[in-house]
């Protein structure tokens, strides 16, 4: 029997309606991510990446189709799996007046993390936050805040981790450090990671598979090496630009349709 996908989208669609005008944010996309894999979700601004992630998290209800996590239909069956998931995004903050330790304590209790005190000490050590535990979140630098958000996201040892631009606004050194930590976490926990990013080097380094979105649709979906060969490019940035500008044999979604057939 095939394993249940860690994350599955089936004809997933989101249409926002405002003042009688409908905007299709995500247009009948389908994919299934195997457990233990890292997948990059690429696309320009407004491509539908964040809405896709929000539907997988259960924060946004699909207009039609399904988002499933470990077999649970989101958002209707979210309480079956939310304790085994987590999320990190620079666009979602943690309370600034609370110290790092207080924030981790609150979220650790929400996720019913066992031996919470020891877990906080351990994760603070891993993410080099030990000296910052008694500092208010609002007094930290952008890089330190990102590490705190990552600590929150990893606190419950999630089987499924969703990351929305995890290294945005970080200096190259800190970004590299975060990527290394994510690689280690995936290897140690066999976690499934879905990563939305604009950083092609990051995606190339971390991901087994890349899904490229454009105007709410999947334009292409393959392993990074396959995409490079398919588009005859040396790096994913050029592949991304080919897709974004509709250039090349596999632009405009042909490759995705071919793969689906």
């Amino acid at each position: 029997m095939p394993a249940i996908p860690a994350i599955e989208a089936e004809n997933l669609t989101k249409v926002y309606t405002s003042k009688g005008k409908a905007t299709v944010a995500v247009d009948a996309i389908s994919f299934a991510l195997a457990p233990g894999t890292v997948t990059g979700l690429l696309g320009g601004n407004g491509a539908g990446k964040t809405t896709t992630i929000a539907m997988i998290l259960g924060l946004v209800e699909p207009t039609s189709g399904h988002a499933r996590v470990m077999g649970a239909d989101m958002p209707h069956e979210r309480y079956r799996v939310l304790h085994r998931m987590n999320f990190e995004s620079p666009y979602v903050d943690m309370p600034n007046r609370l110290t790092v330790e207080q924030n981790l304590t609150v979220f650790g209790r929400l996720y019913a993390v066992e031996d919470l005190r020891e877990r906080i000490v351990a994760i603070a050590k891993q993410l080099e936050l030990s000296d910052l535990l008694d500092r208010p979140n609002g007094k930290l630098s952008a890089g330190q805040k990102t590490r705190v958000s990552l600590a929150k996201a990893l606190l419950n040892r999630p089987d499924v981790l969703l990351l929305d631009e995890p290294t945005a606004s970080l200096d190259p050194d800190t970004a590299d450090w975060v990527r290394s930590h994510l690689e280690r976490y995936r290897a140690e926990q066999n976690a499934t990671i879905l990563l939305a990013s604009h950083n092609m080097a990051e995606v190339e380094r971390l991901c087994d598979r890349v899904i490229i979105m454009k105007r709410g649709k999947i334009e292409d979906d393959a392993a990074p090496g396959v995409l490079l060969a398919r588009y005859g490019r040396d790096n994913l940035e050029d592949v991304f630009l080919d897709v974004a500008r509709g250039r090349g044999e596999f632009g405009r979604g042909e490759a995705a349709r071919e793969a689906a057939q």
Partner: protein, 273 residues
Amino acid sequence: MSGPSTSALALSPHRVYAMVLRYIYLLRSSWTRVLDLIYWPAIQLFVWGFLQHYLALNSGFFARAAGMFIGAVLLWDILFRGQLGFSVSFLEEMWSRNLANLMFSPLRPIEFVAALMVMSIVRLAIGMIPVTILAIVFFGFNLYGFGFALAAFFLNLLLTSWAVGIVVSGVVMRNGMGAETLAWTIMFIIMPLACVYYPVSVLPAWLQWISWALPPTYVFEGMRALVLDQTFRADLMITAFALNLVYFAIAVTVFLALLRSARRIGSLLQSGE
């Protein structure tokens, strides 16, 4: 890890405690927030207390009704601050852009509401206990002298304040911070109709129907009966309680509907304006 439960109504005390802890940490980190809880009720007390004192010196009725205004202002503050305590704790999540973190955590909406109710009581206690002591010291008015009646007044006012706070939080969650003003002003729509400082009989007959549909009206009428006639009107308290149960159930239903709507329009992820 705790075992998963698929029900949105399953209530876990440790998650409620986690949220209460979050708000306690916040209060501990900011003395201005604590001062703010005491400042306005104290100002209100002194304004109405001195007015009451002045009227008592010049009118036989007000001399007989000693404490009527002070009692009214203290009970009004329980209603107003109870709602504010609930709504402001919710607004803290919007101000800190933390709502999405909570909404994809295992925290159930009912646990979130329960934690906000606990915080409403905590914030009320911080604000009102010092002010009731000031009322004894400066005006010789002992709110605790109401005895069992105070418990009935308190319970009914708190239930109303929570029902209003739940709806306000739902509207802000659904519509963003543009609706924040509701949290600060909505109770003032109720104030003239709840007859805080005057009896229902002074209202036009058609308005009295609306007034009697509001649970706080029964509390303020009950308070005046106690102060003026030394009579505890249990009938008023039972009617208020029954109305409160209806309004509370409606408020929770509205909150859950607004939460569903927020998921549909995507406002949980963007908790700004």
